[in-house]
Assembly symmetry: C2
Homo-oligomer: 436 residues x 2
């Protein structure tokens, strides 16, 4: 890794400072961390006017520059949104502390004790677009999990982010947490530099469009928590209950079409398709959903365009649904494992064996039976917070709560124990006695 | 990712076949998997002569080509090594099944149930050098954890590996496990192609030299389980017990100097150095350990060469030890966090506070107090098997047993549940009641 120029050395200095502060933060008590989180909430309340004014300024510039409307809406931070974000900070304070949990406690031999203990990752790098209040949530989650955090907000939100981070640092200055644990980067060049800091940053969390997340994944050696695509499927088995099938299809498509856990493709068993497809189409079209179908679908539904190979691998994030008729459960599973993004896929069926097969053989973070894919969410799972949704195969997978921001270390304590005594002819044996 | 040419399409076909077989293997019962493992053990016993002859042929070619002596020793597979390897297969059969464990079981609302269940990763790619019996162990671990496995052995071991895999496949052909779940690649080009198959291979485990592991890490987007460097430190605090300090230093350096958990650098507190360094030097030099020291160390020990910046970042894997005198515990910790490889670092001290600080602030997979770093090992930790030792920050970290070969998925089962009912004015609440 070669880093050169002022920017990089500057950023390395910032990263080292964050790491240093994080090292101290890592060993704070739950109480001290919660006090810091409450201090952040209070400081944000005190700086409310300043933050809202900064946001107004951001919005004015953005409007002048002709920012797209959905982006503008996400940029806007009104009193209501800010109040919710501050309430969110206090909610994080109430979450259980993920640090310090003893996962393994084992006697290896008399006086030689192994413990596996949850500990913070170190420094998080958070890159987000638009929504300035994202900084508020992620900072409180970072403090709670004992991690330092380097934030990089979108350039359109720069004034808002600066006001927010200024308040947060001011709040922290009264607490056991060194304000250096929270840093804000402001230039675009710094994003690329941040992705190179694998020596100082332990996890990157990108929040933004699919293409943005993919760019981050492809340009860093630091582990990335997130997902590029959310290509979720709903499979209507031949033994599906028709009312459930219709309700779940509509919910999974239209309840929030831009969400990553909304469905993009509907797979219907050929035996039930003639009976159920017209009804589903009617319900969806009443909600302005555009349907695209394979050849057999188009023989049942008239006047819908053909779904091409490209449709099967597209996340529309919109009121569009592709439909394919399959001859067997196996064909449906194979289609999902081929085209899916390992996010969340569901089956509707009254046949318990078919459900069991689907849940076992579909390779995805979430496999659902008779319910909407839209439940795939950290809050709905009861995690209290969601750091991101991961579609990678290795853990953490699926909706990730605070536990995704910690790792563990093995502590071994002895009394002069050496390995030589456990090898060779007179080797001592290990006792391997679990103490929890 | 662009793959072209006959080799790649051939390899993709192999990978797809492995994946298909792995899908079936993933859902087998513990009993069926254990039967397959026993069948492997028996088939290897039956093919003993064939395997040993193949190895003799490999060794003859290697000797003719002037292979390095340590490599030759690792290549050699005698009756004793083979018997041990087969016993190891049966040991894997006795390990608890890592698949199917229910990690979370929670009611989200009446009739809407969330389960997080351990499941296989899918397909493992194992790249190893020399030691042909490594294939035997890793195949049995893969089967036990429900994963398919693509093996790539060193070219010097090609005949041995072919004989071993032939026997394994023949053994599996009598069982519920499709022999396609185990594949052997034989050409060097295939290694590079294998690293590109992120769509078909879920985890790469490289076994070989540091530079080889680093090459693999830098040339694949597939997660890699392993470590390049093992730069472990021993820190002798001012409150160290002298006898423990000497015994642990000697054990951690000489008990098996080529191991990744042997120490490379000794850090000694200035207050105790004049008293303890001459004794430690005497014990180490009696075992032919070459010492290199910083300036202050060389004032106490005469006639040892200077340790340079390069020494602090070198894994000698040999009877060489670099020594540095530090003025404080903090300086020792900072040195370790700067130069260490996050593998295993130990402190010798009778001061509980110093030990606590060291264990908390050193950032490594293993942090030890008053015992040898050589205990860092999956078998010694009581995992029953070791898949590898990981020095990454995210889990799995440190010595990794069978649990490193599984992931999890979230299963949600409902009865027509949709998200629309849990939002808006009349939103239902989640119950979030843990069932385990």
């Amino acid at each position: 890794m070669t880093i050169s120029g002022d920017n990089s050395s500057n950023l390395i200095a910032i990263a080292k400072k964050t790491r240093q502060a994080a090292l101290k933060l890592a060993v704070l008590s739950t109480e001290a961390k919660n006090q810091a989180i409450e201090a952040i909430a209070q400081a944000l309340e005190s700086a409310k006017e300043e933050i809202l004014q900064a946001n107004v300024a951001d919005c004015q510039v953005a409007a002048k520059e002709g920012i797209a409307k959905p982006l503008y809406k996400r940029l806007q931070l009104d009193e209501h949104k800010l109040r919710d974000a501050i309430a969110g900070v206090r909610d994080v304070g109430k979450l259980p502390d993920p640090v310090g949990a003893v996962q393994i406690h084992r006697e290896l031999d008399t006086g030689l004790i192994l413990k596996r203990i949850a500990c913070p990752l170190g420094v998080l790098g958070i890159i987000f677009e638009a929504r300035p209040e994202a900084a508020i949530q992620i900072v409180s989650l970072a403090i709670k999990s004992g991690n330092g955090v380097i934030l990089k907000g979108g350039k359109e939100a720069i004034r808002s982010c600066e006001a927010i981070v200024k308040a947060i640092k001011q709040g922290l200055s009264q607490t056991a947490v060194n304000p250096d644990a929270v840093q804000l980067l402001t230039t675009r060049e710094e994003t690329l530099e941040l992705l190179k800091l694998d020596k100082y940053v332990d996890l990157i969390i990108p929040r933004g469009s699919n293409s943005f997340v993919r760019f981050v994944q492809e340009n860093t050696r630091i582990p990335v928590l997130g997902h590029a695509d959310g290509i979720c499927h709903l499979c209507i088995d031949k033994a599906a209950d028709i009312d459930k099938a219709i309700a779940i299809t509509v919910d999974a498509k239209i309840q929030y079409p831009a969400a990553c856990n909304a469905i993009e493709t509907l797979l219907i068993h050929a035996d039930i398709a003639p009976k159920i497809l017209p009804k589903i189409a009617e319900s969806l079209q009443a909600q302005n959903v555009e349907l695209r179908g394979d050849e057999r679908t188009r023989k049942i539904l008239n006047n819908i365009p053909a779904a091409t190979e490209e449709d099967w691998e597209t996340e529309y994030s919109d009121l569009i649904l592709s439909i394919k008729i399959v001859d067997s459960l196996e064909e449906a599973i194979a289609h999902i494992n081929d085209y899916g993004s390992k996010h969340t896929d569901a089956i509707v069926t009254e046949d318990e064996e078919a459900a069991k097969t689907f849940l076992a053989l579909v390779n995805a973070a979430g496999v659902y039976h008779n319910c909407s894919t839209r439940f795939a969410d950290g809050f709905r799972y009861g995690f209290g917070a969601e750091v991101g949704i991961s579609t990678q195969q290795m853990p953490p997978r699926g909706p990730v709560g605070l536990e995704g921001l910690v790792t563990y270390k093995y502590q071994v304590t002895g009394d002069g124990h050496i390995v030589a005594n456990y090898t060779g002819a007179d080797a001592k044996s290990f006792t391997h006695k679990n103490l929890i």
